[in-house]
Amino acid sequence: MLLNSLSVDRAEFERGTGWTLKPEGACKGDVCIPLPDPMAEQIDVEATASAMGLPLVAAPEHNLWALGPESIGSRALTSAEAPNLRLPDLEGNEFELSSLRGQKIVVYAWAPY
């Protein structure tokens, strides 16, 4: 998740990390990680990342930070439930993978280099 500030609103944090903030903490599937102040409107990214074990890397000279994914299950996937991939097409229209629910999907990764 990319950040231009170390304080973000909770909706942005949830969308960027894929974790939902509940009174019991940050939750994904059956897993909840306790947080000091999970219901705050503004999320203190450094404190929250530290509590969740998410790596935070910085390019402060460009006012840019990136929050890495969790490694809590020691695997790239913490669950077989497909994350909701959201990406633009060539024209910039955003596409959500969940819009294909009800069909089988092959996601095929390629690169032009």
């Binding site: 998740m1 994914p69 020691s74 990406l87 990764a109």
Partner: protein
């Protein structure tokens, strides 16, 4: 080629979603997408979220997802459909530099098994959850790439590097690409992406050079390059073998 497969399998309930992983975005992907004329969703992934979300470490790789939104096969080598009639579409320079000759020599040794993969795909489309190739949720998680705090940190560095590149801070991006390469050594895409952003030669083939130039090898900023790295592991090991 995926469009032809889609024509065949879409009536049977399969959708294909192709994702071009390139920090250059539409500028990098456009000519390939326009040539392929996809009728299926064709997306652009400038920050390689497929790596972070699914553990994609090389291309081509695929992920299979069922009707309920459950992954039934995690990221794995996904060869293009077998098509013996078609010649490679890339146009090569009339006088090919020795460097490209060496790259093609290594590329020829890369192993793929399109027949097994595509037979399995048809079996799954036909038989769904009863297909032997549809894995249980536990097997899907267990087969996905290992991830620890270091690897997660490498993904964060890569995302940061991609954004710095997009914002025009190329030199700053290089430093974070290097961190990503060091922390996620299994990822070919992290390396190939960074190498493709250098300009060791002039012209449209620059992105494919993927290594130091003959004239000024000292200006190459990275520890590795495509030919050296593939020789180090053996080109036959470049793609992980497809496992039923």
């Amino acid at each position: 080629m995926w469009q032809e497969l889609r024509n065949e399998l879409h009536p049977k309930g399969l959708e294909i979603v192709t994702v071009g992983m390139d920090a250059l975005g539409a500028d990098g992907c456009r000519e390939f997408i326009e040539a392929a004329k996809p009728e299926h969703p064709s997306l652009i992934d400038r920050h390689h979220v497929l790596a972070e979300l699914f553990g994609v470490v090389n291309i081509p790789q695929s992920i299979w997802i069922d009707e309920q939104g459950m992954i039934v096969r995690p990221a794995e080598t996904a060869p293009e459909p077998p098509d013996p009639d078609r010649a490679p579409s890339m146009e090569l320079p009339a006088e090919m530099p020795q460097h490209f000759v060496e790259m093609m020599g290594e590329a020829a040794k890369i192993q793929q098994d399109p027949e097994s993969y595509h037979a399995a795909l048809r079996d799954w489309v036909e038989n769904g959850a009863d297909s032997q190739f549809a894995l249980s949720p536990e097997a899907v998680v267990a087969r996905s790439r290992p991830r620890n705090e270091e690897i997660s940190r490498g993904h964060a560095h890569f995302e940061l590097a991609a954004q710095l590149e997009i914002d025009g801070h190329h030199d700053a991006a290089i430093e974070h690409f290097k961190d990503a390469h060091r922390l996620v050594p299994e990822s070919w895409t992290f390396r190939r992406q960074a190498w493709s952003l250098e300009q060791p030669i002039e012209g449209p083939m620059a992105r494919f050079w993927q290594g130091p130039s003959d004239e000024d090898p000292g200006s190459w900023p990275y520890a590795g390059d495509w030919v050296s790295d593939i020789r180090a592991v053996g080109a036959e090991n470049y793609n992980e073998p497809w496992t039923p």
